[in-house]
Symmetry: C2
Subunit: 220 residues, 2 copies
């Protein structure tokens, strides 16, 4: 289940210590370079220079920038989802709160990394032109949804609501997140945009769920 990146990867030639280390260093360098220059403007050489290797090393570990990006993305996603889940779990041990507060908490957690979201938007745009990459992006989106759904369930329960179509809610939230995140990036200095984002999230959650009959704290 794990290695989605292998869909485009060449056959793994056996992992030795040395190999693993350069691989990792290239991946970390890539994270920075992509964030700084953007996906489209990043060259193999950029990454190598940053990591302190030559292109020879690169091509001995990856077959293309796409492959490197996917591997990097996988790592990054695992980290982000991990910490995200952790925060949610921590929050879930607290008092029952209102839906509004819940949304606010969620949004505070989300925009950890504007830089990273920008890179993701760039890569998504790039992936739209490549069927294989498109599939990978789609798969990863499902993966995110699948990871988050249990937490959403839990959070909704604590707020005293229940959802009819979980998948639809997840898809809607992702769409709203993507759309509004883009707006926030385009107008970074406009607090109005962030407010509207919050309102939209709230409205969508309300629309896709309803109050649970026996709820303890059905606040507005």
């Amino acid at each position: 289940m794990s290695d989605i990146a292998s869909q485009t990867a060449s056959k793994p030639p056996r992992v030795t210590k040395r190999r693993a280390e350069t691989r990792q260093r290239l991946l970390e360098a890539a994270r920075f370079v992509f964030a700084e220059k953007g996906f489209g403007r990043t060259s193999v050489e950029d990454v190598c220079e940053r990591a302190g290797y030559t292109r020879g090393a690169f091509y001995s570990n990856f077959s293309s920038l796409d492959e490197l990006f996917l591997a990097m993305w996988e790592q990054r996603l695992a980290t982000l989802l991990g910490s995200f889940a952790q925060s949610l779990e921590a929050a879930s041990r607290e008092e029952v709160i209102s839906l509004e507060d819940g949304i606010d908490r969620l949004l505070d957690l989300l925009p950890v990394d504007d830089l990273w979201y920008r890179v993701q938007a760039e890569f998504t745009a790039h992936a739209l032109r490549n069927p294989v990459l498109r599939g990978v992006v789609a798969a990863r989106e499902s993966q995110i949804a699948a990871t988050l759904l249990p937490f959403i369930d839990g959070a909704l329960e604590r707020v005293g609501r229940e959802v009819a179509d979980r998948e639809a809610l997840a898809a809607a939230l992702i769409a709203v997140h993507d759309g509004t995140a883009l707006q926030c990036l385009i107008e970074p200095d406009e607090p109005r945009v962030r407010r509207q984002r919050r309102d939209l999230f709230l409205a969508v959650v309300r629309a896709y769920t309803e109050e649970r009959p026996g709820a303890t704290s059905p606040r507005t």
Copy 2:
């Protein structure tokens, strides 16, 4: 008010017939080339070749690909908004219909041009890295919202609903459109995505509006 593109344009050196013609041909060529190859992968030479000119002609009319793109975008947007408005106006002379039908109509009109939306996503990603371009994109988004708002008002009235915060609704619709359009492009063969898109639009409009008291046809 018109020429947003002039924010990055060099001083216009006077418009003669000849000049206007090559300009126009370059713009039209650009539309095709961008659609085919994507914004990021399109070079000045590509556009020139397609238009039947040399780079000399290009640089005598535009100072960069960005500038060409903005000019092209402006033309394209005017066309699209024009025909969109026309359709809406035509529809507005028909019977009063339900909200659901209205949304369906709207969505039928929207995805006129998947290719074009893909290009737009690419350019938006590109613009995120450039403050000036970011401003242009933001301004253009406002322009779209401003153009559509009157029609939304009219449509809502005919459906027997009224909106509290028009700007918020417009922003929400744009966000939802962007987010779901992306999902549709990533999974083009998945009818589920389009269904969810429809549902989300419906939910958002419902959430941001309410039935008008004296409405004639307050269908569910």
